[in-house]
Amino acid sequence: MNAKQVDKIATGILYTIAGFVILVLLALLGYILVQGVPNLSWHFLTAPAEAFSAGGGIGIQLFNSFYLLILTMVISFPIALGAGIYLNEYANQKSKVIEVIRTMIEILSSLPSVVVGLFGFLLFVVQLKLGFSLLSGAIALTFFNLPLLTRSVEESLRTIPNLQREAGSALGLSRFETIGHVILPAALPSIMTGVVLSAGRVFGEAAALIYTAGQSAPALNFADWNPFNATSPLNVMRPAETLAVHIWKINSEGIMPDAAAVSAGASAVLVIAVLLFNFCARYFSKVLYRQLTSSK
């Protein structure tokens, strides 16, 4: 066999592999959507779940997922922003200490989410006696979310040229003022892209939640918005099964007759949500691209 024949065969194999992978990936997406979308209805999206009979919805779980996402972002974004700012703007980049700190953050990002969830369980549910609650869940998800979000903030800040920082210093502005008024606004689209992408991850996370936010979704009174009442949707001390946890729960121990249909519908909702997050992230990076190109 000469080199040309080998080349042809190899190319054929590569086409086959790529074709197979496309097939698998599209089949996966298609399966989820085809199985799930027919189950989607207003009733399904809003009704509470049924434990023993068919016809239940995912209303409370869907609300819980979004509420938990918002809580997590509210807690984790300021911390990640602060840490990212310190790492990129204040820290001495050559310092060994900073190198160690970066490594530790990287290790946190690579921890299995189930370990992070168990830690949250131990600390918040058991030691601090917060019980299975949205708050425990949000803090566990924060731990899970912090390293990636911090990294993305840091990287967004790094793309802003030093000239801008020097401009601020030369005008007698403190670094803090320059960061707040010049660097952050310029980095905002890129930071938002990171936030939205991490939101997709948080939205679909389940392993970190089963022992922190819990696996039950008590009935909520959607007329009561006082966060201190037990049945208020806004109460952060109540247990809150999310959509992702729900899928896991009904598949591993569910006894409802339509578990397959409910999980298919719920999976489709999760995938569509991730799709939406992806589109938003793309939109932000387009804004960023436009900003960058219009400046030259």
């Binding site: 000239l163 801008q164 601020g168 210093s169 030369a170 005008l171 007698g172 010049v182 310029a186 219009s294």
Partner: protein, 274 residues
């Protein structure tokens, strides 16, 4: 006009010649005393002693890596993060290189303009008012007045007076650089440090910047780093020649370009590097 080719070499030339400014006759705005700069263990600037006269333009010339930019950036402590600066920098009888001095306050009085124009991604107007507002100037009329006068002083007013709300990034490179100069002088500094402000610009923009500098001289003490010897000769009153991390000669500009006292200076202004 300078005719460097007429410069001649004699046997008894000194290695260094640093002119001293008589402080009884001339007002000194800034003086560097035994200033040294280290990047890590590496010495980037040897002990330097220079005095800068008020309302004059002083050029710092020399090849790349000669230490002129390093020295300039030390004068308002822009090197604080990257290196160690030793010695004294006297301004208004205070050593601004000491830790008692508030760096941010000091930089309001000693402004700096960089080689590459670096306007903020804000409107032309906001580029000028932003720092003013941060420093506590809130009065609208005062802000508008500062915008107008600084843009006029930087010879940019006529070109942008109708488009003050447009993004500063839409300006040409030369306009951006004049905007950056306007932004610096809007703070009413005492001293302006310019690090090769025209080197990234075309000849026409560069000429405009030079005109601007000559006008600004009436109100500001200017220290400018330049690669361009013609530019140094045209705009400055004093010139310091840097070589391999030290000042070899400091004198009136016309003397540097007509009768330099140090062999290296002769070589440099003649264009013989080697």
């Amino acid at each position: 006009m300078v005719e460097p080719n007429q410069l001649v070499f004699t046997d008894e030339m000194p290695d260094h010649y640093i002119m001293d400014i008589n402080e009884d006759k001339h007002e000194v705005a800034l003086s560097a005393q035994d200033v040294e700069v280290y990047y890590g263990a590496k010495q980037a600037l040897q002990k330097t002693n220079l005095k800068f006269e008020r309302y004059k333009i002083t050029s710092l010339i020399g090849a790349s890596g000669s230490g002129k930019s390093t020295f300039l950036r030390s004068l308002n402590r822009m090197n604080d993060d990257v290196g160690t600066v030793k010695g004294k920098i006297m301004y208004r009888n205070l050593d601004i290189n000491s830790s008692d001095i508030d760096v941010y306050e000091m930089r309001r009085h000693i402004g700096m303009v960089f080689q590459r124009p670096n306007p903020f991604a804000k409107s032309i107007e906001d580029n000028i008012t932003f720092a003013l507002k941060q420093h506590g100037i809130r009065d609208k009329d005062e802000l508008a007045k500062r915008v107008e006068t600084s843009l006029k002083q930087a010879a940019l007013w006529d070109e942008v007076k109708d488009t003050l709300h447009k993004s500063a990034l839409s300006l040409s490179g030369g306009q951006q650089q004049r905007l950056v100069i306007a932004r610096a002088i809007a703070l009413h500094p005492d001293i302006l440090l310019l690090d090769e402000p025209a080197s990234a610009l075309d000849p026409i923009s560069s000429a405009k910047i030079e005109d601007t500098l000559l006008e600004l001289k009436e109100k500001y003490t200017i220290i400018i780093v330049t690669h361009n010897m013609q530019q140094a000769a045209r705009v400055s009153d004093y010139t310091a020649f840097f070589h391999m991390g030290e000042v070899l000669e400091y004198d009136l500009t016309r003397k540097i370009f007509t009768r330099p006292k140090v062999q290296r200076t002769i070589d440099y202004v003649n264009g013989n590097f080697g």
